[in-house]
């Protein structure tokens, strides 16, 4: 039997679409779940809204896993013991997608973080149904803070695009602005805490307060972690490393920033409507 | 050969142990014999599968033990067989689940006419409350709990005045009458467990949980705590006496109502206090130092 033609360059590319779609399913599913929860919250007459939501989270994970298994390995129906005449299966280069490993790693990590925040939302929804819940007035500072976080994301996006185009200056500026805005956001959050404490809304006084502090703290910590990566990248660029060598890092930072922005918007929305 | 034999012995031995074991459930004293039946069904179905799998394994180990001149059969899969196995397993599982859910439906449907009794748990003792003449349990709140009012009854709730309080580890239940057992904890999780009743349920502070039973046999039964609740978990004991209705009523009459106990507390002779109650067993005091 003639060996099928195979040139080393003939890597199947289509798998890329699949994987990103799967991850989109996972993330969107989890965040979509969050929207679901807020629906429960507004009509909170339902018994055990958090528990139902938790089931939704669980079910989403089930579906994502099964969908993921299907998409990632459309080969899952392959009969691996049969030879595959005429198919370039041996040229399969071992990758589920052509994404760089770091990008894929980040996406998996984002899925984990999404679960963390989804569970917090579930807990929030469940705890809210108890009679001692007294909603707390959102400090007005959260609005400007949100705006600053958006600016930060935009700046990083700018850095990302510049880095892709190999524009050294743009990347530097974008990164710098993004970092400054991120720090400003964190400072703003601390100020918001200050405001709340000054008006007597202590963490232990009411579960609504406790959740507010917990959620903002966890979100802030994630941003702080991102700032570490941001610092390393920026330092490199400043030390004169060429832009294309840090392009991958810039990409990752930008994606992470956008993700944290989405998380923040969801959480802020949750705080607002309750 | 030896290995196959030992496998067979494990299967046979397990069944023999099951049949000969002197340790088995206590004679039932409630209406939940349905639960016992479901267990028996489950035992039969799973027991057959267990023995069949091990015996088949023993057979394979014996029949297909290594021989130099033989090769294993190369058979990646057998769709038909797998479908059959899936189908049969599903049938078996359904045969256990269906009666299970059927009985659970009864378990969650408390009869309308069920009498009520409240069980209160705290580290590490039980106390009990009956609704009194009006048949309604008065409201409670942890904020009301004081040495004079250990149940935390609402003093202003008229429905609570006639509630009968039993501040000791012994409860009584009338024979053949459905009761809804309401459960309340003052401090941590506990679990009201009477092996002969089969039913049990956690007590959760901040919530009122429940289950229902109809006692079907007179006698005195141990109450155990079945949810780890701290150092004295294993000494958190009580008793339930099931007796005919008339004797039960006579006993109930002798117990103080909430109004009476408050009055007595007012005269400076609280008959309800932690240290003197029967719950204060000796090991418990040691734990409390």
């Amino acid at each position: 039997m003639p060996a099928p033609a195979m040139s080393p360059g003939a890597r199947p590319r289509r798998s890329r679409v699949r994987v990103s779609r799967v991850l989109a399913v996972v993330v969107a599913g989890l965040l979509g779940g969050a929207a679901e929860a807020s629906a429960h919250v507004s009509g909170s007459a339902a018994a055990a809204p958090g528990l139902i939501y938790l089931i939704v989270v669980g079910a989403t994970i089930v579906l994502s896993l099964i969908a993921g298994a299907y998409f990632i390995g459309q080969t899952l129906t392959e009969k691996p013991w049969l030879p595959v005449p005429g198919k370039v299966v041996h040229l399969h280069d071992g990758r589920a997608s052509s994404l760089p490993s770091a990008t894929l790693g980040l996406r998996v990590f984002l899925a984990v973080v999404a679960v963390v925040f989804s569970l917090l939302v579930a807990a929030y929804a469940e705890r809210m149904a108890f009679p001692d819940w007294r909603p707390l007035p959102e400090p007005w500072l959260l609005w400007p803070n949100t705006a600053v976080l958006i600016l930060s994301s935009i700046a990083l996006q700018w850095a990302r695009v510049s880095a892709r185009r190999g524009q050294d200056e743009g990347a530097k500026l974008g990164l710098l602005a993004g970092g400054v805005f991120a720090f400003a956001f964190l400072a703003g959050q601390l100020l918001a805490w200050q405001q709340l404490r000054a008006t007597g809304y202590f963490a232990a006084a009411n579960p609504a307060n406790s959740f507010f502090y917990l959620i903002t703290a966890l979100h802030g910590l994630h941003l702080l972690g991102g700032l570490v990566a941001w610092g390393l990248t920026t330092a490199k660029l400043w030390r004169g490393v060429e832009v294309f060598r840090v392009q991958a890092s810039v990409e990752l930072c930008a994606v992470y920033w956008h993700f944290l922005l989405v998380v923040w918007v969801v959480l802020f929305g949750l705080l607002l409507i309750t | 050969m030896v290995v196959a034999l030992i496998l067979v012995l494990v299967a046979v031995g397990s069944v023999a142990f099951h049949l000969l074991s002197p340790w088995w459930w206590t004679p039932i004293a409630s209406n939940w014999s349905y639960i016992d039946h479901t267990i028996i069904i489950t035992f039969w179905i799973t027991g057959v599968v267990f023995v069949a799998i091990i015996l088949f394994m023993a057979y394979c180990v014996f029949r297909y033990r290594y021989r130099k001149d033989r090769r294993a059969e190369y058979e990646p899969e057998n769709k038909k067989m797998e479908w059959w196995l899936t189908g049969l397993t599903s049938v078996g599982v359904a045969a256990m689940l269906a009666p299970g859910l059927f009985v659970w439906n009864q378990f969650v449907s408390v009869p309308e006419d069920a009498a009520k009794i409240e069980v209160v748990g705290e580290q590490w003792q039980w106390s009990f409350r009956y609704p009194g003449k009006d048949g309604v349990l008065g409201t409670t709140d942890p904020r009301n709990i004081t040495p004079e009012n250990p149940f935390g009854l609402n003093p202003n709730d008229p429905k609570g005045q006639d509630d009968v309080l039993v501040q000791g580890p012994e409860a009584r239940l009338p024979l053949d009458k459905p009761v809804k057992v309401l459960l309340r904890a003052k401090d941590v999780l506990h679990d009201f467990y009477v092996p002969q009743f089969r039913a049990k349920m956690d007590l959760v502070p901040g919530m009122i949980t429940y289950f229902w039973i109809t006692p079907t046999r007179t006698g005195t039964f141990d109450v155990l705590c079945a949810e780890l609740c701290g150092l004295g978990h294993h000494v958190m004991r009580g008793k339930v006496v099931v007796e005919p209705e008339s004797e039960f009523q006579a006993w109930l009459q002798e117990q103080p109502t909430f109004a009476q106990s408050l009055a007595r507390a007012g005269t400076g002779t609280p008959d309800i206090n932690l240290a003197s109650s029967e719950g204060g067993s000796e090991p418990l005091e040691r734990l409390l130092k």
Partner: protein
């Protein structure tokens, strides 16, 4: 072209997968301590997990002594007993089994089995181990903290976990929660590696469905862990705040010992939901790697392809998925809305179907095989028995009404020890006997191994089978002593004493095993290459034991699945995954020497 095997394509050039940038150790410390080679990290994980696991083992002896001979040991009082239980359970489940299966076996086997040079993020991988070690140290520190470790049970249920009536409610619980948080962070670092390595670093020809089931099991278990641990993390953080700041996430209004506490309105059940949202998948985090590994052991030692490979893969994925919607079967009597019982009983029993299929396929792999009764095979057989036994009692506990009388009794203890204690540990032993030659180049001593096997298997079975019947009788779990009752007969005390004696004997057998591990490393018989004549890649490395970078100059190329045992027409009864098709019928040189170099120098 006599047979299908020949129809596979002929020579294929090795992959152009860009090699992972390899980390090259320069100093002794860099090679063995601050090492980024997954194989070394695996050993580090394994040693640490075993060390802390030994602590848990000793604790179990102390507990058994107390249960078998109550009132004989004055140094075991109520508080220490409850502390022993808690630490034993937590260590066994998290710090031993999870760490050993994923951090130990995962690190060692994933890169080798998929044909990668290392994990994709070696530095993060190394960090993962050090964070894990920190978690273990914090856990150990709690033994020495004022008040001792927490005694809240491994489930750490609030309110009791942070109240005075429970031992270790001060430092103990705080350190426990901190240690768990660290563990989760460390695991996440490792977990990202395992997942991405499987997805992105497989060698040429290694399609997903050509991966050995070991990799499938560890891969899916890692995904479960990544998605389930966040629940424990969130729960731990919230409980920590309740403990330290006095928030009321889980704490309702409480009157403890006559004193009203400041808490108000919280929900203890919320913690239970979070805990079990993690806790149930955790069972499968331990079980799925065991499923995968045992499949490979059975196939290799029965010289037969695993029966129904695709079904095995689908079942792993299905079980993994379903495990996220069954958690509340641990809460049937927790006081949650009883109507949830219908849902969770149904989902739980549905999981039994794919699980049962896996069991059938293991047994059907033996059928018409050519079975070598080697130590790994013996452990696999024992695994099937204990797993079936424990799975069956799972059907009891999952079926909500049946659970009502049995929950929180010794039946539950017997069940989970059978299914997630004994069964996976038997697989771990089998796996160590199987892969020890790969790691050290020497075989483990057979006589000691057989002694270890029979004592461990029969002993553990003799402990846990009768224990179920104590549960039927109504003996609750987590009891320091049974004390006076009207329903526990005298004979039960003899039974308890007997179980304790057997537990000590089983414990002794583990010492023999540890001795064997040490002794054979120096005195064991030389294993040679591929002593089990296995098909999978880890046995086909350039050097043996595999060296740094795993593969010598070029990566292997994979031509077939991992289960080509007994292929008709092949020269040997096994065809390594990387043996070029044109050599299958003639490869008489594929002997105990393996097929070294076939990927490098193909057609001769």
């Amino acid at each position: 072209m006599a047979h299908a095997a020949h129809a596979e394509t002929a020579y294929v050039p090795p992959a152009e997968v860009p090699d992972v940038e390899l980390y090259h150790p320069k100093t002794f410390l860099g090679k063995y301590i601050w090492c980024q080679d997954a194989k070394v990290i695996a050993i580090q994980y394994a040693i640490t997990a075993t060390a802390i696991g030994l602590v848990a083992l000793v604790l179990s002896w102390l507990m058994r002594l107390q249960l078998g001979f109550p009132e004989s040991f004055s140094f075991i009082d109520e508080s220490s007993y409850y502390q022993f239980i808690t630490m034993h359970g937590m260590i066994m489940v998290i710090y031993l089994l999870t760490a050993l299966f994923l951090g130990g076996f995962g690190n060692y086997l994933i890169p080798l089995m998929v044909g990668a040079r290392d994990m994709v993020f070696p530095y993060v991988n190394m960090l993962s181990y050090w964070v894990y070690l920190a978690a273990v140290l914090v856990l150990v520190a709690s033994f020495f903290a004022p008040g001792g470790p927490t005694g809240a049970g491994w489930t750490l249920y609030p309110p009791q976990a942070i109240l005075q009536g429970t031992p270790g409610s001060g430092w103990g619980i705080i350190l426990m929660l901190a240690s768990l948080a660290l563990f989760i962070i460390g695991f996440t670092m490792g977990g990202l590696n395992y997942v991405v390595t499987v997805l992105q670093a497989r060698t040429r020809g290694m399609t997903l469905l050509r991966m050995p089931l070991t990799v499938w099991g560890i891969f899916v278990a890692t995904i479960l862990a990544l998605l389930a641990f966040p629940a424990l993390f969130v729960g731990s953080v919230m409980m920590m705040l309740d403990r330290l700041l006095g928030t009321s996430f889980f704490m309702p209004a409480i009157v403890e010992m006559g004193e009203r506490l400041q808490y108000n309105g919280g929900s203890p059940l919320l913690f239970q939901h979070l805990f079990w949202f993690f806790g149930h998948p955790e069972v499968y985090i331990v079980a799925l790697p065991a499923f995968g590994i045992v499949s490979d052991l059975i196939s290799t030692h029965a010289r037969r392809n695993i029966f129904g490979y695709r079904m095995m893969v689908w079942a792993i994925v299905a079980i993994g998925g379903l495990s996220f919607i069954v958690w509340a079967h641990h809460m049937y009597v927790s006081g949650m809305n009883p109507y949830f019982g219908f849902f969770f009983a149904t989902t739980t029993l549905i999981i039994a179907v794919p699980t049962a299929l896996k069991v059938y396929n293991w047994v059907l792999t033996l059928w018409r095989g050519n079975i070598h009764l080697t130590l790994p095979m013996l452990f696999s057989l024992a695994f099937i028995i204990t797993f079936v036994n424990g799975g069956i009692t799972g059907l009891f506990l999952g079926n909500v009404v049946v659970d009502v009388p049995l929950s929180d009794t010794m039946f539950v203890v017997a069940h989970f020890h059978m299914v997630m204690g004994v069964a996976p540990i038997l697989v771990i032993f089998g796996a160590i006997y199987h892969w020890y030659p790969l790691i050290t180049g020497r075989m483990l001593n057979e006589a000691m191994g057989r002694f270890h096997f029979w004592v461990t298997f029969l002993g553990a079975y003799a402990i846990y089978l009768p224990m179920h019947y104590l549960g039927f009788l109504g003996v609750p779990r987590r009891y320091y002593e049974m004390g006076e009752t009207m329903f526990v007969p005298e004979s039960a005390h003899f039974l308890n004493a007997g179980m304790s004696v057997v537990a000590l004997i089983v414990g002794f057998a583990q010492m023999v095993f540890l001795f064997n591990l040490a002794w054979s490393a120096f005195k064991g018989r030389e294993a040679g290459r591929n002593p089990w004549r296995a098909t999978t890649l880890e046995w086909q490395t350039h050097e043996s034991p595999p060296g740094h970078g795993n593969w010598g100059p070029a990566l292997p190329v994979v031509y077939r699945w991992a289960y080509a045992y007994g292929v008709p027409g092949a020269a040997q009864d096994f065809v390594p995954q990387n043996l070029p098709p044109d050599r299958v019928a003639t490869a008489a040189d594929v002997d105990h020497e393996g097929v070294r170099g076939v990927a490098v120098q193909p057609a001769e």
